[in-house]
Symmetry: C2
Subunit: 255 residues, 2 copies
């Protein structure tokens, strides 16, 4: 049993309005890959945000008094601080250089997932352009899955990932921020182990494990490989949502 | 560029004193795999702990007053609470059913990583047996790497992983608790992105990303596939340590 993750070749720089399904299908051919039942495609958040035109020009943002205060405390550009506030439901921690928030999508992340690298708006390379996360990554995944399934006739999974920091460990890791057609969690409570004991609590974050694997294959910087083809995911595909992976606030011991 | 992770076939139930290097080499042959320069082998913590005889029989443990207090608060067996205290440098949070600690090895985890499932000591299946983490997983990885390199003549990486929960997300994911011959972190600060900007801060937890990937292939319960062969890890092998991945306490905003 082999899990094989392959970065698609030939994905161009994505622009607002681009048809990701068509681009991906063409890249799969260029990469000498096929789509089979059970295959999963993992997309970097950035290309979905770009296709959905989540670009914002900071020159158009007027910081509120709250944003000015957050800027003073974090050292962030006041207009970026304004966007962080707009994209977040709660500011959890602020240190110089770092604002940890609960994003409107429900997860905890730094700087509301707003991206400054590999971002160039409408034919410019101005440093004023930033990129917000997709409006609804579960829905973006679902739409893309249905499009690719229609063309291929195969049952697929789609995942959109981003890189997040961790509370207690250094280094970012890929995590799922949008899912369609695959499980977020696998609940293995009640399964028996090798000695016949019933496992007490084992709920595995399988989508996040796959996100981390795909992130490793994408790389971070200039490699330009934002889509990864996955074959050999051993859990049955089903409807799933990124929301499965969010720890309810009342179970959060560290907020 | 494909990252391929394959669970080795035919790994038996590991007993104290077993020669993991020999067992792994034999399983690689059975699995129709080879070892090449740059390959990585990922081991589940459990088999390393078993080979190193980290079994403890709770019947031999006398709980201290502190352990009795922790037991009352957590609902854990008082003898297990005693072991959790002995294996930890700090108790961070206690809720019923869950004790979050800083382990003596430096990472934050639940119940000091003490394992009750798939554990049977010395010919018994008594529920009194538990399994501690390896004494020094970086060192265990190093010893195994040198053994396998000597036999194979190839430059390899070795990683020992466990499943950890996360502060804000549900589901466990595989993380590195011992590393030899591969990087824990890849510091991509200063690299240029597609548009020539210098990336500000991107330190990637590549070992943890690979641990998550391998965990997905191992499964959790009765599959009995505790060793995963990795080919296609795209970062150069170098000396590394699990300690690279530990966030220093003074940078921890959530403890």
């Amino acid at each position: 049993m082999t899990l094989a993750l392959t970065a698609l070749k030939g994905i161009p720089i994505i622009k607002p309005g681009d048809n990701l399904a068509g681009i991906i299908l063409s890249s799969i051919q260029q990469s000498d890959l096929t789509l089979e039942d059970g295959d999963i495609l993992v997309l970097a958040q950035k290309i979905v945000s770009k296709a959905e035109n989540q670009f914002i020009n900071l020159a158009n943002i007027q910081p509120s008094p709250q944003a000015l205060a957050l800027s003073a405390k974090s050292g962030k550009d006041p207009r970026l601080a304004e966007l962080i506030l707009r994209e977040s439901t709660e500011i959890l921690r602020t240190r110089f250089g770092s604002v940890i928030v609960e994003h409107r999508l429900g997860f905890v992340c730094a700087n509301a997932g707003i991206d400054h690298s590999n971002v160039a708006g409408e034919g410019t390379t101005s440093e004023d352009w930033v990129l917000l996360l997709p409006q609804d990554p579960d829905r973006s995944s679902e739409v893309l899955r249905l499009q690719l399934q229609q063309v291929s006739g195969k049952k697929l999974g789609i995942m959109i990932i981003d890189s997040h920091g961790r509370a207690w460990r250094l280094g970012t890791v890929g995590v799922a921020i949008g899912i369609s057609g695959l499980p977020g969690l696998m609940d293995e409570r009640g399964w028996q182990d090798l000695f016949g004991y019933t496992l007490q609590i084992t709920v595995v974050g399988v989508a996040d494990e796959l996100a981390a694997a795909a992130s490793l294959v994408m790389g971070q910087a200039s490699e330009g490989t934002p889509v990864v083809h996955v074959r050999g995911f051993q859990y049955p595909l089903r409807n799933g949502s990124m929301k499965e992976l969010l720890r309810p606030k009342e179970q959060d011991m560290f907020r």
